[in-house]
Symmetry: C2
Subunit: 152 residues, 2 copies
């Protein structure tokens, strides 16, 4: 069971509407700009994801008090190549700064890798900055290529 | 109009069921393993994508005879970060080898970048090998990070 990788005192579960009050936005602020997300926008996005549950797997790790201390998403893409194969994309991984060193990040990544495997993905990929390569190698991933982007 | 980037004698349009007979699988074989995709599997996948038209934009470039000479996908991901922002993922770009040098690849990438912009994406990303960086820089993209992967 990959749940067993989660340290004692913490639980991993799907993101839910109540997490708007449990600190999921604060957790994501450790990663990047979150901006103005109202409760209504949050709930609409959750409903959108929920209607596409085959593709979006948004997980949170909560502590004993129910506070979100880490979050991450697995997006499953349905392709034509590799005999209509599926690829997992790991997105938006964030662990609260005051929770680092507890191996929550590695547990979360391994959990998402296992979810992708269980869903039949032939590979899972993610993009990261140069200085995070070592962390993801510890999670079992290998450098595969270059991420390129165009910003509007 | 970004369609105007497509060279004379070629047309860009969404992938359709008839493309099973128009060479789309052969075109993709230039990119990677396609494997055994029956007509039924192809049509089922197209129906799946069609039901998620907000996310999957599968395009082909065809020549005067209707043959698929290039193909590429824009996958739009709905995120929580960046005020419920959207990110475009360019996937599975392939141009037939005997059609290279006609700027079909650059036209296809620019077309997909424009579709993503029109859909409100704040950025579009793709992963490529080191030796394709120069091509994507010509398309206007910049190196953003490292792609890492886990293969099952």
């Amino acid at each position: 069971m990959v749940e067993s990788l989660i340290p004692a005192g913490y639980t991993i579960r799907p993101l839910m509407a109540a997490d708007y009050d449990n600190g999921v936005l604060d957790c994501l602020k450790g990663l990047t700009t979150v901006g103005d997300v109202s409760r209504l926008h949050f709930e609409k996005l959750l409903a959108y994801w929920d209607a596409r549950r085959d593709m979006y797997h948004n997980m949170v790790i909560v502590d004993n008090s129910g506070l979100v201390v880490a979050t991450g998403t697995l997006l499953v893409e349905y392709k034509l190549i590799h005999a209509c194969g599926k690829v997992g994309h790991i997105e938006d991984i964030s662990v609260n700064e005051n929770q680092q060193g507890k191996k929550l990040g590695i547990a979360l990544i391994r959990y998402l890798l296992q979810v992708a495997k269980d869903l039949g993905c032939y590979k899972t990929i993610l993009d990261c900055s140069e200085h995070n390569v070592g962390f993801y190698e510890k999670c079992g991933l290998k450098v595969e290529g270059i991420e390129m982007g165009y910003r509007y």
